[in-house]
C-alpha cells in the first residue's frame, strides 16, 4: 500500500470533502483507533501475550434513490490518503447501485465536541507495571502450594471519532480492562474462579485474586453429590450478569414487534407496558454511569432492529428497559421506533444495571440467610433453547457450593440448567445490593454491567455434569 497515514480527524475531514465533491448527498465517517495488551497464563506459567494496535475506518455515503435515500457502507483498516479516496468512491458507488434504504432518516445534526482535536488515547504493556509482578509472584506461590492457576488479563483503549456532513464531530475514548482467573487443586478435581472488570489495572492485585481462589478451593475439602432437580440457589452477581446479558440482547424492538421474542404479545406486537415481574426489579442503561461509561452517542456500522447507520451520533439518553417490573422500552432506531409505535428511538447502550428497589446486602449475606441450598460461582455455555419463554440452557462452572445453616459447608458437582431469566425476575425471593459485576460467559466483550446477587428458590438443574 502506498500513501500517507492520516490522523483520525484528517481522515474524517478528507473523507467528507471527497464525498461532497463526488456528489454524495450525505456522509458519515467513523474512525476507531484501538490499542490493547494482554497476558495469558496456564499451569502457573505464561502461555501467550500480545500488544496489538488496530485502526478501522467506516464510510457511510448516502444518495437519493427515487423518493428515498440509499446508503453505501465500506469498512477498512489501514487507511491512507490514497486508499481513502477509493473507499469513499466505493461507498458512493455502492449507494448509487442500491435501492432506497427502509431505515433512511436525515443524518443527525451536530457540532464539534470540545475534545475533537485530541489525539487517540492508547494503552501499552506498561499498564501491567504493578499487576505483572504480583501475577508472577502468585504463579510461583501457587506452584509451591500445589495449586494451578489459569487466566487472562486484557486492557484496551478504543478512541472513536465520528464526523458527518451535517456537522457532527464527536470523539470519545473508552478504556476497558478485565482479569479472569481460574484455580485448580493439585489433582485437578476441583476448580474455582474469580473475575473482575477494571479501567486501568491499578486496582487489581493478583495475590488477592489468588487468595480468594485459595479460599474457594478450600471449600472443596468436603465434597457432596447433589442430584439434578429444582434447588434453592444463590446466584452471585457474576451469574446474574451471565443470564441478564442474554435478556438484555433480546430487547430488540423490531423482533419483538414481529412476534419473534419473549417480549412479543401473542400473535404479534410488543409487550411494552406489560408487567414482567411483580417485584420492584429494574433494568437500566446510562452511558454516563460512573465506572461503567459507554459511548454517549449511537454508533452503527450496519443497520438492524435496534440500530441504524443513519442514526450515527444520536445522543444516547439514560433508558429504563424494565422499571418496577414493567417493560418500559425496547431497543430501537429512529426507523424501528416508528415501526413499533414508540415515541422516540432508544438505541442499544453498551452497559446495563439490574437493581431491585430496597435490596441490600452481599452474596455472603444471602448465604448467611439460607438454611439449605446451593451457591453458584458462574454460568457457562449459555444458549437459547426456546425464544418464546427465553428458555436458556447452560452449565454451572468452577465452583458450586453447598450451603447449610447459613454457611458454605462443601463443594458439589456441576449441573446443566434450563431456565428463563425473564421467569427468574419473578421467582427470586431475596436480592442483594447491586454491585459492578463481570460475566463469565460474556464479560470478555460486554463487561460494563452491575447486578445484584439473587436467591432463586427453585432453580432448574436439569442434569448433573461430570465436569470439574
Amino acid at each position: 500500500m502506498t500513501g500517507i497515514q492520516l490522523t483520525p480527524q484528517d481522515t474524517i475531514e478528507r473523507g467528507l470533502a471527497l464525498a461532497a465533491a463526488e456528489g454524495a448527498d450525505g456522509c458519515v465517517v467513523l474512525v476507531a483507533e484501538t490499542s490493547s495488551t494482554n497476558l495469558r497464563w496456564a499451569n502457573n506459567t505464561l502461555t501467550t501475550n500480545g500488544a496489538m494496535r488496530g485502526s478501522s475506518v467506516t464510510v457511510i455515503a448516502t444518495v437519493g434513490a427515487g423518493e428515498g435515500t440509499a446508503a453505501g457502507i465500506i469498512g477498512r483498516s489501514s487507511v491512507t490518503d490514497d486508499s481513502l479516496r477509493e473507499i469513499v468512491s466505493a461507498a458512493i458507488a455502492t449507494a448509487r447501485a442500491a435501492g432506497p434504504a427502509e431505515d433512511a432518516r436525515p443524518l443527525v445534526d451536530g457540532t464539534t465536541g470540545a475534545d475533537w482535536d485530541l489525539e487517540p488515547e492508547e494503552t501499552s504493556v506498561g499498564v501491567y507495571e504493578k499487576f505483572a509482578p504480583s501475577l508472577g509472584e502468585s504463579l510461583k506461590r501457587a506452584g509451591l502450594e500445589r495449586r494451578r492457576l489459569y487466566g487472562f488479563a486484557n486492557h484496551e483503549v478504543v478512541t472513536l471519532y465520528v464526523g458527518s456532513s451535517t456537522g457532527l464531530r464527536l470523539r470519545q475514548a473508552l478504556p476497558r480492562g478485565y482479569v479472569s482467573s481460574t484455580g485448580k487443586n493439585a489433582d485437578l478435581s476441583h476448580s474455582a474462579w474469580v473475575g473482575t472488570a477494571t479501567r486501568d489495572f491499578t486496582d487489581v492485585d493478583a495475590l488477592a485474586l489468588d487468595a480468594e481462589l485459595t479460599r474457594r478451593l478450600g471449600w472443596a475439602n468436603r465434597t457432596v453429590s447433589v442430584d439434578a432437580g429444582r434447588h434453592p440457589t444463590i446466584l452471585p452477581p457474576a451469574a446474574v450478569a451471565d443470564l441478564m446479558t442474554y435478556l438484555f440482547w433480546q430487547l430488540d424492538g423490531r423482533d419483538a414487534f414481529e412476534g419473534r421474542t419473549v417480549f412479543s404479545k401473542a400473535g404479534g406486537g410488543t409487550r411494552l407496558g406489560d408487567t414482567l415481574s411483580s417485584q420492584p426489579v429494574n433494568l437500566h442503561s446510562d452511558p454516563a454511569l460512573a465506572g461503567l461509561e459507554a459511548f454517549a452517542f449511537a454508533v452503527a456500522r450496519s443497520s438492524g432492529g435496534s440500530s441504524s447507520v443513519f442514526d450515527n451520533g444520536l445522543t444516547l439518553a439514560a433508558t429504563d428497559w424494565i422499571r418496577g417490573g414493567k417493560l418500559e422500552h425496547l431497543m430501537t432506531s429512529r426507523y424501528t421506533a416508528g415501526l413499533i409505535g414508540a415515541p422516540t428511538a432508544t438505541p442499544d447502550i453498551e452497559n446495563y444495571v439490574v437493581s431491585v428497589d430496597g435490596a441490600t446486602g452481599s452474596t455472603d449475606d444471602l448465604v448467611a440467610g439460607l438454611d439449605n441450598g446451593l451457591l453458584l460461582t458462574c454460568l457457562w455455555y449459555i444458549r437459547m433453547v426456546d425464544p418464546q419463554t427465553l428458555l436458556l440452557t447452560g452449565l454451572t462452572r468452577d465452583g458450586v457450593y453447598l450451603v447449610e445453616n447459613g454457611e458454605v459447608t462443601g463443594a458439589v458437582n456441576n449441573f446443566r440448567f434450563n431456565e428463563s431469566p425473564v421467569d427468574l425476575l419473578s421467582r427470586f425471593t431475596t436480592a442483594g445490593a447491586t454491585v459492578p459485576s463481570y460475566s463469565r460467559e460474556w464479560g470478555d466483550y460486554f463487561s460494563r454491567t452491575a447486578t445484584p446477587p439473587l436467591l432463586v428458590p427453585d432453580f432448574n438443574m436439569s442434569s448433573v455434569s461430570q465436569a470439574n
Binding site: L46, T47, G136, S302, L395
Partner: protein, 509 residues
C-alpha cells in the same frame, strides 16, 4: 461480470503489496535482537455481510482487515506484536515490540518454548477450491438473488417473516519464518442463513435452511453444492407442520441423527475434546479443558467400535482446509478416534515438541491458526469428521431399524460443559419414528447426553451416500477471543436410548 469455470489466481492487489520486503525487514530485525525464531504474517481479510428482512435489504456491508504481525521466540519466551501500517519501519518496530513483549514476559514464563521441526517450503502458493469469487459479483446481483429466495418463502401460506443473511469471506495470507518457509495462500468461504418465521395466536416458531457454510464461492448460492430450489420449496410446509405438531413426551428414545444435526454434536463433543491445548489446560480459564486427557491416548473408549473420526485440513470445500497452517506446516489428515478408541489430537508445533514422547511423533499436524493479523496463532480445529461405513445403510434403512424413536434434522440450539461431557442440542425438525416409519413432526424436543455414553450408544453409521460436510463459520476460542471456521463431515447415524427432554416442561410450563 464474473467468469465461471476459471481457476482463480491469488488476488493481484494482494500480490502487489510489499510482502517479502516487509517480512525480510521484520525477520532480520528479530534475528538482530537475538530471537531464535521469528515468523511474519501479512493478512488481508475481505468480508461482506448482506441481510434481508422480509425481502427488503436491511444491511449490506463491505469490510477489509489488513495488517501484519510478528511473533518471536526470544530467550525461550514467546513475544507477539501486530500493527496496520504496511511500511518497513512498522515491520521493524513490530519485531522490536515482539521482542520487548518476550522480555517483559520472561520472568513469568516457566517453560522454554521449543517448536517441532518441520520441512520448509520456499515461496509456495495455495488456493482453496472455489469457482466464483463472491467479491467479483455485483452487489445488486447478489441482493436480487437473495430477494428472490426470500420472496419464495414470504409468499407461502403460514410464513409471517423471512430473514436472510449471507456472509462471504476472502482471505489472503503471506507467511514467512526464519527457518526458510514462505507461502502465499488464498481461501474463500461463504455462509448462508435463511429462516422462515411463523406467528400464531398462541405461539411462534421458525424453520431454517440446513445449508451449511462451506469453503466455496458465490456458485454455492446459485446451486453448486446445494439444491436451493428444492429446499426453499419445502421450508414453508415443514414450518406449517412444525407449528401444528404435537409436543414430545419426554423420555428415552432411539434416535437417528441426520448429518445436518450431527455435525454440531461432533464439533462440540469430539472436535473440541481432542484439541490438545484444551486437554493440557491452556484453555482452562476460557473455553475449558477436556475429559479426553493425554494419559488416555490409545485407551479411552470414546464410543462404539463403529466410530471412526479423522482430523484433516485437506477436505475439498472444508472451512478449515489450508495448504499450510499459521506456523508453516502443510495440511494433512490423521486419526482422532479409531474403532471407538481415542487415537490422536489436534496440535501445533509447540505442543507437538513438548509432548512428542506421548504423541509418538515429533511432528505437528498443522492446526495453528490466527483469525486475523491482529491475533496470536493458537491451536484451532481441523475439519473433524465421522467416517461413513463402506457399503453402509441409507438414512431410511437406519430409520427402519427403530421401533419407537425420533429422527433429528438440522441444528439449532447447542451447549456443552467445560470438559465436554454433558451436552444438550435441539434441531430444526424432529420426526416421530414408529415401527421403522416416520410419522410426522414433534415439537419442543431437545436431546441431552454425556459424550462417551452417547457415542457408545451409536449402533450404526450410514454409508457414504448419507455423508454431508456441515460446519460453522464462527467457532469461538481463546483469550483474546478468536473466531474460526471449520467443517465436519458425517453420515446419518443410529443411537440407542438417548434422553429426550420436553423444552416446554423444562421451562416450568
Amino acid at each position: 461480470m464474473y467468469k465461471v469455470g476459471v481457476v482463480p489466481d491469488i488476488d493481484a492487489s494482494f500480490l502487489a503489496l510489499p510482502r517479502q520486503e516487509l517480512a525480510a525487514a521484520a525477520l532480520q530485525r528479530a534475528r538482530d535482537l537475538g530471537a531464535t525464531f521469528a515468523e511474519f504474517r501479512l493478512e488481508r481479510i475481505r468480508s461482506e455481510s448482506i441481510s434481508l428482512r422480509d425481502s427488503v435489504l436491511e444491511s449490506a456491508k463491505d469490510d477489509e482487515d489488513l495488517g501484519l504481525a510478528v511473533r518471536v521466540i526470544h530467550d525461550g519466551t514467546w513475544g507477539f506484536a501486530a500493527g496496520v501500517a504496511l511500511t518497513t519501519d512498522e515491520a521493524v518496530s513490530l519485531a522490536e515490540q515482539a521482542v520487548n513483549m518476550a522480555q517483559v514476559s520472561r520472568p513469568i514464563n516457566a517453560e522454554t518454548i521449543e517448536l517441532a521441526d518441520e520441512p520448509t517450503y520456499d515461496d509456495v502458493t495455495w488456493i482453496s477450491s472455489y469457482e466464483i469469487d463472491p467479491f467479483s459479483v455485483p452487489r445488486a446481483e447478489k441482493v436480487a438473488l437473495l430477494t428472490d429466495y426470500s420472496d419464495r418463502l414470504l409468499k407461502a401460506d403460514g410464513v409471517a417473516h423471512v430473514s436472510v443473511h449471507v456472509a462471504t469471506i476472502h482471505e489472503c495470507k503471506y507467511y514467512a519464518n526464519t527457518a526458510g518457509t514462505s507461502y502465499t495462500q488464498q481461501r474463500v468461504r461463504i455462509g448462508p442463513d435463511i429462516t422462515a418465521h411463523a406467528v400464531a395466536e398462541d405461539r411462534f416458531d421458525s424453520m431454517s435452511s440446513t445449508a451449511p457454510p462451506a469453503g466455496r464461492g458465490w456458485e454455492y448460492m446459485t446451486g453448486t453444492g446445494w439444491n436451493w430450489d428444492e429446499e426453499l420449496a419445502q421450508i414453508p410446509a415443514w414450518l406449517a407442520e412444525k407449528m401444528a405438531a404435537p409436543t414430545v413426551e419426554a423420555g428415552t428414545y432411539d434416535v437417528v441423527v441426520d448429518p445436518s444435526n450431527l455435525w454440531l454434536t461432533i464439533h462440540e463433543s469430539i472436535g473440541h475434546a481432542t484439541e490438545l491445548d484444551r486437554a493440557l489446560g491452556y484453555e482452562a480459564n476460557y473455553a475449558g479443558t477436556s475429559f479426553a486427557t493425554l494419559d488416555q491416548l490409545g485407551t479411552l473408549k470414546y464410543g462404539s467400535p463403529v466410530m471412526q473420526v479423522t482430523g484433516d485440513r485437506t477436505a475439498e470445500n472444508g472451512l478449515s482446509t489450508v495448504g499450510y497452517d499459521d506456523e508453516g506446516v502443510a495440511g494433512q489428515q490423521w486419526d482422532l478416534v479409531k474403532d471407538g478408541i481415542l487415537a490422536g489430537y489436534q496440535v501445533d508445533r509447540r505442543m507437538a515438541k513438548k509432548n512428542e514422547d506421548v504423541l509418538g511423533t515429533p511432528r505437528s499436524n498443522g492446526c495453528a491458526y490466527a483469525d486475523s493479523s491482529g491475533h496470536i496463532p493458537i491451536q484451532r480445529m481441523a475439519n473433524v469428521s465421522l467416517q461413513p461405513a463402506v457399503d453402509g445403510p441409507s438414512t431410511e434403512e437406519l430409520i427402519s431399524r427403530v421401533e419407537n424413536g425420533i429422527y433429528i434434522v438440522g441444528d439449532k440450539s447447542w451447549s456443552i460443559d467445560m470438559q465436554r461431557y454433558n451436552f444438550q442440542f435441539t434441531g430444526q425438525r424432529f420426526y416421530k419414528i414408529t415401527d421403522g416409519k416416520l410419522e410426522g413432526q414433534l415439537r419442543d424436543v431437545a436431546y441431552q447426553a454425556t459424550t462417551t455414553d452417547f457415542w457408545g450408544s451409536m449402533e450404526a453409521v450410514g454409508g457414504p451416500q448419507t455423508y454431508v460436510l456441515g460446519g460453522a463459520l464462527n467457532c469461538g476460542k481463546a483469550e483474546p477471543g478468536q473466531s474460526g471456521a471449520v467443517s465436519h463431515g458425517c453420515p446419518s447415524a443410529l443411537f440407542r436410548g438417548v434422553r429426550i427432554l420436553n423444552t416446554t416442561q423444562e421451562a416450568g410450563r
